[in-house]
Symmetry: C2
Subunit: 199 residues, 2 copies
C-alpha cells in the first residue's frame, strides 16, 4: 500500500496532528481497520526498548519511502510508530526505555478538530541515556539526538468505543548530525551560498 | 489522478525544492509528460494577472484536496502553478501582474541535488498593489497577503534538452488572516491553551 502512494513524486506522509488522531490513533484504539498499514507497531517502553535497538536500519529505510526529507539536514529522519504506554499505578506512565528514558521537557498541547473540540494531546520527549553525566553525553553523541512527538487520545475521542486507550502514536525524529561518527551535513552549506540576485 | 492519492489520509503534496525541479519543472520545460497532472498552468504575469482574479476559488478548492493544511493558521492556503516568465530584453523579467506587482524582497537560494550540483533557483516574492500608499494598504487588506516561492531551472538542469527555459513553478501562499473581511483564526487560540502537564 505504501508503495502505490510513493510512485507519485512530491507526495509524502506528512499528517497533521488532527490526521494522526482521527485517521490513525482513534481507529487503532477502537480496533478498527486503518486507512494505511505503513505505521509500525513497537514497544517503545520497557527494559529492552533503547530506541536505536528496537528501531532498526531496515525500519528507517521503510519509513524513508513515504517520509518527506528534512530540508535543513540530510542527517535527520522521522518515523511513525504505534506504541502502548506503560501505566505505573493510575496516573503516571513509565518512561524507561532500555539504556535511558524519554524525558518530557515541554508543556503539552491540546489537539482540536475543526469544530474546536479537544480530540487529543501532543507531548514532546527527548531521549536521555542513564548514568553519569560524562558517559551519558558520550553515548548520546554516538547514537544521535532522539526526539519523540507523542499523541494520545483525549476529550471527545474518548467518549466512543475506545478499547485500548493506552495506545499512543509517535513521530520519532533521529538527528544524526549531532552524532560524532557522522560527518555528512552537506545541506548546511547551501544557505551560505545565498547572495542577492538583481533579477 | 489527484483523487486516487487523496484517499489515503495523511498523504499530501508536500514536494521538496528538489522534487519541484527534478520531477515537475524540468520535464515541463523539456515538454515531457509529468508524473502528476495536479499542477495548474496559469499566466501569473501581465496586465490581467492580478492573482485573486486569475486564481479562482475553484482553483483553491482543487488545490486543497492534495495540499497539507497550515497548522498555524486556518486562513492560509497554498497552490502550485506553472507559469511562463515574461522577458524584458535579455536579462530582466516583467513582474507586473494586473493591479500590482510581484516584488522580490529576499536573496535567492540555489537548489542543489543530492550530488551537490545546482539544479535550480528559488526566489520569494510578495504581491504589492499599485498606487498610492493608503490605497495600496487598504486593497491589500481586503484580498489578504500573497506570497510566491518561484523555482526556475539553473546549473546542470540547463545542459539537457530544455525547450522552454522561461517556465517557472510557483508555490503561491494566500493568507486571508491579514484580510479585514475574514475573522476566522480559530487555530491561533490553541497555543495559548498550552499548560504544563505533570505526565
Amino acid at each position: 500500500m505504501s508503495m502505490a502512494v510513493n510512485t507519485i513524486p512530491g507526495f509524502y506522509f506528512t499528517p497533521t496532528d488532527e490526521d494522526l488522531i482521527t485517521f490513525y490513533l482513534k481507529p487503532k484504539a477502537m480496533r478498527q481497520p486503518l486507512p494505511w498499514d505503513g505505521i509500525l507497531e513497537k514497544n517503545l517502553y520497557g527494559d529492552n526498548a533503547t530506541p536505536w535497538v528496537i528501531l532498526t536500519e531496515n525500519d528507517w529505510e521503510i519509513s524513508r519511502q513515504t517520509a518527506r526529507a528534512y530540508e535543513d539536514s540530510v542527517s535527520k529522519d522521522e518515523m511513525y510508530v504505534f506504541t502502548k504506554l506503560k501505566k505505573i499505578g493510575t496516573v503516571r506512565f513509565g518512561r524507561v526505555a532500555g539504556s535511558g528514558k524519554w524525558n518530557d521537557n515541554q508543556p503539552f498541547k491540546y489537539i482540536k478538530n475543526r469544530q474546536g473540540e479537544i480530540i487529543g494531546i501532543k507531548k514532546i520527549f527527548t531521549f536521555k541515556v542513564k548514568g553519569e553525566k560524562g558517559h551519558e553525553k558520550m553515548d548520546h553523541m554516538e547514537k544521535g539526538h532522539w526526539i519523540m512527538h507523542q499523541y494520545t487520545l483525549a476529550g471527545v475521542s474518548l467518549v466512543q468505543e475506545v478499547k485500548d486507550s493506552d495506545y499512543a502514536i509517535c513521530r520519532i525524529i533521529r538527528d544524526l548530525s549531532k552524532c560524532r561518527t557522522n560527518v555528512a551535513e552537506s545541506s548546511e552549506g547551501q544557505s551560505r551560498l545565498d547572495i542577492d540576485l538583481n533579477n
